[in-house]
Symmetry: C2
Subunit: 315 residues, 2 copies
């Protein structure tokens, strides 16, 4: 058997996949990008990153329009929207080396449960929660405003006993690329922690058509953000998870120190893409409810966004 270095595939060419893929490529990893609408642009011009943290990065990269053309990868980072997992599943399987590790770099709950039945039994499935302010400026052009950490957790795979070792292996990959990454013992906990940020800011950016700075500056919307965060913490607790003490306040402070930021859900809405409402709202609400916990503000935000999303896509 031929020995070779770790091969990484990036599924989904948006801001998240582009940023982490380019950082890994820059660190010397062999990275392969599966692209859709951006394929032509990236093949011709490569990928460009304008980063407030890492400066300007520009690289020619291995770009593919078809998973069949990719070499089999040891790690597959999925940066596409959770709403497209069903159609991506066969492509992920096609690009996966034996015992490949698939990481869903997506927000919300239940995304791994949905994808798992479509994967091979030998494939490991992980979740990754990205704490990053990053946007796609143009095809192949990524703007990174702040932060960058990835919290990883194990979902399922052939050898549950090695779960934490595999998660640590993933964190080590990111570390090698200069990216902060934490191996979490419990993926659900990692996902609920990230929801403490996503639930208020993603939803309110669409509902109030506002970015983080004005949302934090206004006393009413700021209080609402805090109340929504408290509900998410309550939902996590109802589901048996204990978030770090003062976690909501911690995220509030981080957001205050961030540059003004439009969350990804705002961009999805502006471009009439479906919103990730199932993973970020419906599933956490259902799990909390099943645990006897009714998150009223989060439900109202979900109802409002569901109305907006349906109308937006009819238009």
């Amino acid at each position: 058997m031929e020995s070779r270095s770790t091969r990484i595939g990036i599924i989904g060419s948006g801001a998240i996949g582009g940023f982490y893929g380019l950082m890994l490529a820059r660190a010397g990893f062999e990275v392969h990008f599966l692209l859709r609408s951006e394929y032509e642009a990236v093949r011709e011009q490569g990928l460009s990153l304008q980063s407030a943290v890492h400066g300007q990065v520009h690289m020619q990269v291995n770009a593919y329009a078809s998973a069949a053309d990719m070499p089999l990868c040891d790690w597959l980072l999925v940066g596409a929207k959770a709403t497209s997992n069903a159609e991506l599943a066969p492509l992920i399987v096609q690009a996966a080396a034996p015992e490949s590790r698939v990481v869903l770099l997506q927000n919300g709950l239940g995304v791994e449960d949905q994808l798992r039945p479509a994967l091979r039994p030998d494939m490991h499935l992980l979740g990754g929660l990205c704490f990053i302010c990053v946007n796609r400026e143009a095809p192949g052009v990524i703007r990174h405003q702040a932060l960058g950490a990835v919290n990883l957790g194990y979902h399922s795979g052939p050898a549950a006993g090695t779960a934490l070792a595999i998660v640590e292996e993933g964190a080590a990959l990111f570390h090698a690329a200069g990216i902060d990454s934490q191996a979490m013992e419990n993926l659900d906990q990692a996902r609920w922690q990230k929801l403490v940020w996503n639930v208020p800011y993603n939803g309110l950016s669409v509902l109030l058509q506002a970015s983080t700075t004005p949302l934090m500056a206004d006393a009413d919307s700021r209080l609402l953000i805090q109340q929504l965060m408290a509900e998410v913490v309550q939902g996590a607790q109802a589901c048996g998870l204990v978030l770090p003490q003062g976690y909501a306040e911690h995220l509030l402070r981080i957001t205050e120190q961030m540059p003004d930021y439009w969350p990804s859900m705002y961009h999805d809405h502006a471009q009439q893409r479906p919103l990730e409402l199932q993973a970020i709202y419906a599933e956490p609400l259902a799990r909390a409810r099943a645990a006897g916990c009714h998150l009223v503000r989060m439900e109202m935000l979900y109802q409002s966004l569901a109305f907006i999303d349906r109308r937006n896509r009819q238009a």
Copy 2:
């Protein structure tokens, strides 16, 4: 003392004042209209009503740009926004005959409490809740889509013992003009009942930029409307009021049977006028809270609207 027929003054020229004033004038009452931005148009062209119920009505009317020019009136109907009561108070006093009855045809709670100190002790103050779909199409042109009833209640005045008689006198005026009107024993109850409609539909029309038909057709927004209605009923109960059995369901059915309607708050927002958030949201929330009742969805709607309103008027 000279005998004369009932003289009615209309303060505020919008859809509400215009509709009820014109209906009273058509019925033969002596009606005087105090106008601001619409004065020129109404003086020259009169008032026009396009009513789905009463047909086309057009009349030359007594129009005034200044309260000082008006004869003293026995009844003063205030159809202006609650947000302008403070500046209207001196004009109302100026146009008021001795023992004049002032009726605030406005939504929400606390509007009489705010105006009362600015009135003379001999003046009676009433509230009127209008169940009507009416809009101002152009200066002096009113479009009436459906309904029309006015529920009246007594607030304060020189002879509290005659309160119900005065309210019934008011209802009789409206009846004489072909308008359904109920004399209510308790003004607070009348106001809370109307809030069961205003709280969901006014707020959601701004928050979701949607009129009644799509809001009722979508399962999520419809459920949210019902939940908001239930909160208002709960708030009224906490304040010691008993609304009629099944009142929320009654308003839901009426709204379903109405033509598609954009509530007044939507128009206020679209024209960058201040929203009536104090009377419709802040005051009911405060009263419910003082009674130990936290209306969470209504608070979230208020917080969202407060954010939107501030930004809208800065723009």
